[in-house]
Symmetry: C2
Subunit: 301 residues, 2 copies
């Protein structure tokens, strides 16, 4: 059998293909592809769509990079993880996507699955997750998204979903607003327990879960009637998405401080966003109902 | 004579009045005022305007707050400044403003002047500055803005302007884009050399310089004809403004991590912003000319 690093790179590409096929089918627009090389080693392929029929902005990136980690990056890892081997040689591969639909009733989705090796594989781990960010809450959508992810997790260990769901609510918190970014999903990092083969199988199933978890929702909401007031609220929520990603998201903050490819790091940002002086919704409105759930995350399965 | 803290609070209010009078006269719109109290001590007054005729969003805030600094804040200060006195009692007062005009040819302006005391005045310093952020470059505007600030500085010490101009170019750098936020101005922090009275006189003159430095430019550019392509570029540059403020601006980053009033901390963000997949301007265009100056800051006096 091929080593995990090779199979994970192939998995990332397969997920990219699956998701891009679903995007193009729903949107009726061909995505633009750009292949790039990393000066220090490796490279990636970005597929993107802007100003489509359904998606205002969509990016699906894969990369497989290797080389020497900067000192600062290694120091940060050592703070997080005990007993790391000496050496700064690394390999990292994964798939990362953010889809921002135009329709305010159609939620944004983010997913990312990645595999990391240090010192030629002497240490390795998986990280990733998927989460849903609506501007207007449909319980059915949140339930569907969570159920599909729970089913994929449960095939491997019934303890995974509750743990990853909780980690997702903790991670995607806009602390200064005391709000979650969205209605959550799953999140894990530094996952190396129980061996690489079972974890690779888990991540493969989670990668395959993206299309069935999200696209039935997108198809259902993409043509929901809306007016300027809905669009305004969506734009305010997009502003919150920007706040989370630039202030808290580990991958973004890390990417901005290293020599990462800036277009890939910031592809998660929406096409447009809005910050008003006073943006509190009136009590009893659908906008206030969303905020209530963002303040107090709930269970969806 | 009243102590500096009292006179600086009055100065902040006077600058707020001056600038708001100029905004209202140019825009033809009354600003909205909100007074707030800080649970730990003190408070402030925010004046704002949204969706005006000239200004898409404008905020002019004053505050005078006191109490006990969080441990983390004191630790950060001690890293920056030697020989700070013991104790966490603080007093801070100042004025802060960001004006985002609607017209893409009319630049954004930011200014902030503040006075800080630690341990009942055992340590104190002034901080502040003013900078101009155009989406389209007019050399005359940049020159005028810099000259007015140079004249205010030169009254006090001819060494100030070159030093503060350089500090401004260094500070307002969007490092991950290798671009400055705008065409600069002046910036200083931790200024305590030569005694409080001469520095208060400097800051008073700089506060009074905001209206003559900016409003002649705003009046000149507010009715410049523009089309959707200019507006799009302005929105992309507004995205960069958001990136700088959320990732690098000390006051914003510090405010997000403490119990500061979030509406005041984020009032600097534009009403709307835009992030495109590929946003490089064509060589030889006015958009490319701006980028060239942002990459390589130049002298304006």
């Amino acid at each position: 059998m091929e080593p995990i690093r090779t199979r994970m790179t192939a998995l990332a590409r397969r997920v990219q293909d699956q998701v891009c096929t679903a995007i193009e089918a729903l949107d009726g627009t061909a995505m633009r592809e750009e292949t790039w090389e990393r000066p220090g080693g490796g490279g990636g392929t970005s597929r993107s769509l802007q100003d489509g029929h359904v998606f205002e902005k969509a990016g699906v990136n894969v990369s497989a990079v290797h080389g020497e980690l900067p000192e600062g990056a290694v120091a940060a890892m050592r703070e997080r993880k005990q007993n790391l081997p000496d050496g700064r040689a690394f390999f990292a591969t994964g798939v990362s996507l953010v889809l921002h639909p135009r329709n305010p009733f159609c939620p944004t989705v983010h997913a990312n699955y990645r595999y990391f090796e240090l010192a030629g594989g002497a240490a390795w781990w998986f990280g990733g997750g998927a989460d849903l960010t609506p501007a207007y809450l449909f319980d059915d959508d949140a339930r569907h998204f969570h159920r599909v992810h729970k089913a994929a997790c449960d095939k491997h260990d019934p303890a995974y979903y509750p743990r990853f769901k909780k980690a997702c609510d903790t991670y995607f918190r806009i602390v200064h607003r005391d709000e979650s970014r969205g209605v959550g999903g799953i999140f894990f990092d530094d996952l190396d327990e129980g061996g690489a083969e079972p974890l690779f199988a888990l991540v493969a199933d989670l990668g395959d879960a993206i299309v069935p978890a999200y696209f039935p929702i997108a198809r259902r909401r993409a043509k929901h009637p809306y007016d300027e007031s809905h669009r305004r609220w969506q734009q305010i929520r997009r502003g919150r998405y920007v706040e989370f990603n630039l202030v808290y998201d580990r991958g973004t903050v890390f990417g901005l401080k290293t020599d990462a490819r800036i277009e890939s790091v910031l592809m998660s940002l929406p096409l447009t966003a809005r910050w008003e002086v006073a943006d509190r919704p009136e009590p009893g409105t659908p906008e206030a109902a969303l905020l209530e759930v963002l303040r107090h995350p709930r269970g969806w399965t």
